[in-house]
């Protein structure tokens, strides 16, 4: 294991990687396994899920029965350390006072970043998702297509372990036979949704999540992922045997001490460290990219948070994987005579076209699910089924009034009691208390189903970030100022979500405490709230209209790469993490190739 301090780090590395989440983890993994020396810089503290995960803790052991607070918005046991939508000592600002025009920026400060608590929903983008402009005339096409990324989706799925199934549905790609792990059985509420949705022509299929429903095949996968590299194969085979399969308890958002789900800290970093090629420097806040006299990146200036002192990390190649907006901030704060408006920003597009996922929810109570016999519905620590977007043809024909789709995540089941359990039952009970309340609590427990829409946002001119001219963080680093606006493309999509959710709930015989919103603007999530932060340094084929090329390599600085979601040209309804990892692996392969050719 090589955790280093500014004093013990080497003076020079092949590659400096800023960030340790999905992008930084994948980049470091791919490079280290192929013999490239890497220094990973992480702004937060070191974190080890094997020893720190609250497996099996009950909410009664937590303050406030584990309830959501501003310190822990997803509850006390959520695997987020060091920050949330606020991060101590590191502010950001919004240009507007109107909350609907603000962006909330989620920043934990811990090794592995957001991968420690994420939903583990791991969907592939489909062919349409890389060419959205071609399909609707809106947004931007990527300079790559599904066929470019598919081999890397395969690799990531084999490395990480994804459960799911192949259904052959439009723009919802199948994986090659044998890659996906078996999907867990649907819960009772999920079965009911499936039956009723089918009558409405809405498909309900096994969701893809990064959870090991059985052990990975350590005998065959390493050779497929690292052909011709016996050492990498041996290390990976060993590490795969150190991961356990899911034991069907403890919600994934707490992290996983048995390494049954994907976190950068459970999958990427352990084997990468084992190679001896990866050093990790925690508590180091990157301030700017060092630009050499040859107009190439020479490394990173960082602040050691434990001492407040500045340090330098030098490398032949620099990879930014700090999270889209944090990587953008680094570029904008790296000003020089050669790049007066920020590094790699000759296009003026750094910070432009930031996107989140469109979110909206509606839930109801389902009488059919009342008074069910007690049975364990913990399952794989998240949903087992979902609704992929199903109206591609209607949308293409212009019948829907909004251009992009959404998928639906389903929440149901007899979940571990917490602070809000059996509250707000008055709507159904008309205010029972005493013995009657206890009967009602038993009756209604587990009888709720809610739907969460996750839709595609189209990048727009009004959603961007820039450097705040006045505000600096504790380390004296200028902070980001956000501008945010949804458009009618998104609010109309939300109105459709609301109507669909109500149709589904009513078809199940559900009672709705809240009626669906007909005005999508009233039911749309706030910018940043789904924590699918992408864009800000989009890739393209033309240096005048994009920041990076098809490899995430900046046009202006040849040895500077953007490995997180900053180069995303669009934000498909599919959760971005799997695509981040696939693109990071692809970019790292390209770097290795360029290094071998002497071009980097």
């Amino acid at each position: 294991m090589a955790f280093v301090t500014p004093a013990t780090a080497k003076s020079q590395y092949d590659v400096i990687v800023v960030g340790s989440g999905a992008a930084g983890g994948q980049t470091a993994y791919t490079l280290a396994m192929e013999g490239v020396s890497v220094l990973m810089i992480e702004a937060g503290r070191s974190y080890d899920p094997r020893t720190e995960t609250p497996m099996f803790q009950w909410n009664r052991q937590a303050p406030l029965r584990g309830a959501s607070t501003p310190d822990k918005p997803f509850g006390f046991y959520d695997a987020s350390v060091g920050g949330a939508w606020t991060t101590p000592d590191e502010p950001y600002t919004n240009a507007s006072d109107d909350p609907t025009k603000q962006f909330g920026w989620w920043r934990p400060r811990m090794l592995g970043g957001r991968t420690n608590h994420w939903s583990r929903v791991a969907l592939r983008n489909g062919p349409y998702d890389f060419k959205p402009h071609r399909r609707s005339g809106l947004g931007f096409d990527w300079p790559i297509g599904y066929e470019d990324v598919a081999p890397y989706y395969d690799k990531v799925e084999m490395l990480v372990g994804i459960h799911g199934s192949n259904e052959g549905l439009e723009n919802t790609p199948d994986s090659p036979e044998g890659i996906l792990l078996p999907p867990p059985k649907p819960r009772i509420g999920e079965l009911l949704v499936r039956r009723e949705a089918r009558k409405l022509g809405i498909p309900v299929i096994p969701i893809h999540r990064a959870v090991l429903t059985r052990l990975l095949d350590h005998r065959t996968i390493p050779a497929k992922l690292h052909p011709g590299n016996p050492r990498a194969q041996r290390i990976l085979a060993q590490d795969m045997q150190n991961r356990a399969a899911c034991f069907w308890a403890t919600h994934c958002s707490r992290g996983c001490s048995i390494r049954a789900n994907y976190q950068s800290t459970t999958v990427h970093l352990p084997p990468a460290l084992e190679t001896g090629n990866l050093d990790i420097l925690p508590n180091a806040m990157a301030r700017e990219v060092i630009l050499g006299p040859d107009r190439k990146a020479a490394g990173i200036v960082f602040v050691d948070k434990t001492t407040g002192r500045e340090g330098r990390a030098l490398g032949r190649t620099v990879v930014l994987a700090a999270g889209a907006c944090e990587s953008v901030r680094l570029l904008l704060n790296s000003k020089s005579a050669a790049f007066p408006q920020g590094l790699a920003n000759s296009s003026g597009l750094v910070g432009r076209y930031i996107m989140d996922t469109v979110g909206s929810a509606l839930g109801g109570q389902i009488p059919l699910l009342e008074n069910l016999p007690p049975h364990n519905e913990d399952g794989a620590g998240g949903p087992h089924v979902y609704v992929p977007w199903w109206l591609y043809k209607e949308q293409l024909a212009g019948k829907l009034g909004f251009p992009r789709g959404y998928h639906i995540e389903i929440d149901s089941g007899r979940q571990m009691p917490k602070a809000g359990t059996s509250s707000h039952l008055d709507f159904f009970t008309k205010g029972s208390y005493g013995r009657a309340f206890k009967e009602d609590a038993r009756r209604y427990y587990g009888s709720f189903v809610s739907f969460d829409g996750r839709g595609e946002m189209i990048p727009n001119e009004k959603s961007f970030c820039e450097i705040d001219p006045a505000v600096k963080d504790k380390w004296g680093i200028p902070v980001l100022r956000f501008h945010w606006e949804w458009s009618e493309h998104e609010t109309r999509q939300v109105a459709h979500m609301q109507r669909t959710f109500a149709d589904l709930l009513l078809a199940m015989g559900g009672k709705l405490p809240r009626q669906p919103e007909t005005d999508g603007g009233k039911a749309i999530s706030r910018g940043g709230s789904i924590i699918h932060e992408v864009g800000g340094a989009i890739m393209g084929s033309d240096p005048r209209t994009s920041v990076t090329n098809r490899w995430g390599q900046t046009w202006d600085v040849k040895n500077l790469f953007m490995a997180d979601a900053a180069p995303f040209c669009s934000n498909a309804d599919k959760n971005p993490t799997l695509t981040i990892m696939a693109l990071a692996w692809r970019a790292a392969d390209y770097m290795i190739d360029q290094m071998r050719k002497g071009d980097l």
């Binding site: 609250p54 009664r60 006390f76 867990p184 308890a249 809000g420 208390y433 206890k438 427990y445």
Partner: protein, 212 residues
């Protein structure tokens, strides 16, 4: 909606986005003694997750003896002992409510005056109707008062405000109770245990609901 689901966490979570970077605003209730949350720190962004926490461990509690007695009596009225599980007060649910209203977080600060004023109202109403403290009343008399508060949309105008208190107190009592070992068992939650397989719903149930 019942806040049972994990997805509800996200909804609760989103509220804090709006307050991001804003100071915690404690609602001012003129003339309500102790309505303001005393200055205290929360558990911060990196709390020890392995510890067992008890009310009072992280911030000072609020209830004076009288308030605590009233709260305990109301907890037991809302969730009394029955053949399935003990009453809420015997499991110290009122101490959780004290922890909640004493916490330096916005939701808690909002509930604080509602609960403290509500308890004071309950005492005054008990004295007015029966010349006695609420905790000393027998259950039929306690119910006589609380029947007027049970459901706010149907409460008489004079009882609207206390009905809001009653609803909030009932929700906190439920959350406090059903998270205890006994409450969890009563509800029929049987998870949080490792297993070699996940078998899905019982086959009988699938058949009964026609979902096979």
């Amino acid at each position: 909606m019942s806040g049972e689901s994990d997805r509800m966490d996200r909804r609760a979570a989103l509220k804090w986005m709006l307050t991001a970077a804003a100071a915690i605003a404690v609602p001012r209730v003129p003339g309500a003694p102790g309505a303001k949350t005393p200055a205290a720190k929360g558990y911060g962004f990196d709390p020890d997750l392995s510890k067992d926490y008890a009310p009072g461990d992280l911030w000072p509690l609020t209830f004076a003896d009288g308030q605590r007695r009233t709260a305990a009596a109301l907890c037991d009225l809302i969730i009394p002992a029955d053949e399935h599980s003990p009453g809420a007060a015997s499991l110290h649910v009122h101490d959780f409510i004290d922890e909640w209203i004493s916490a330096p977080y916005p939701d808690c600060a909002k509930d604080r005056p509602v609960i403290l004023e509500g308890l004071a109202w309950l005492e005054a109403e008990s004295a007015r109707r029966f010349g006695s403290g609420f905790a000393q009343l027998d259950v039929p008399r306690q119910r006589e008062i609380c029947d007027d508060l049970r459901y706010e949309p149907e409460a008489k105008p004079a009882f609207r405000q206390p009905a809001r208190f009653f609803a909030r107190f009932r929700d906190l009592t439920a959350g406090g109770f059903y998270t205890t070992e006994e409450g969890t068992r009563d509800l029929g939650y049987v998870g949080n245990a490792p297993s070699g397989t996940f078998d899905g719903p019982p086959p009988d149930l699938i058949r009964k609901l026609g979902l096979d």
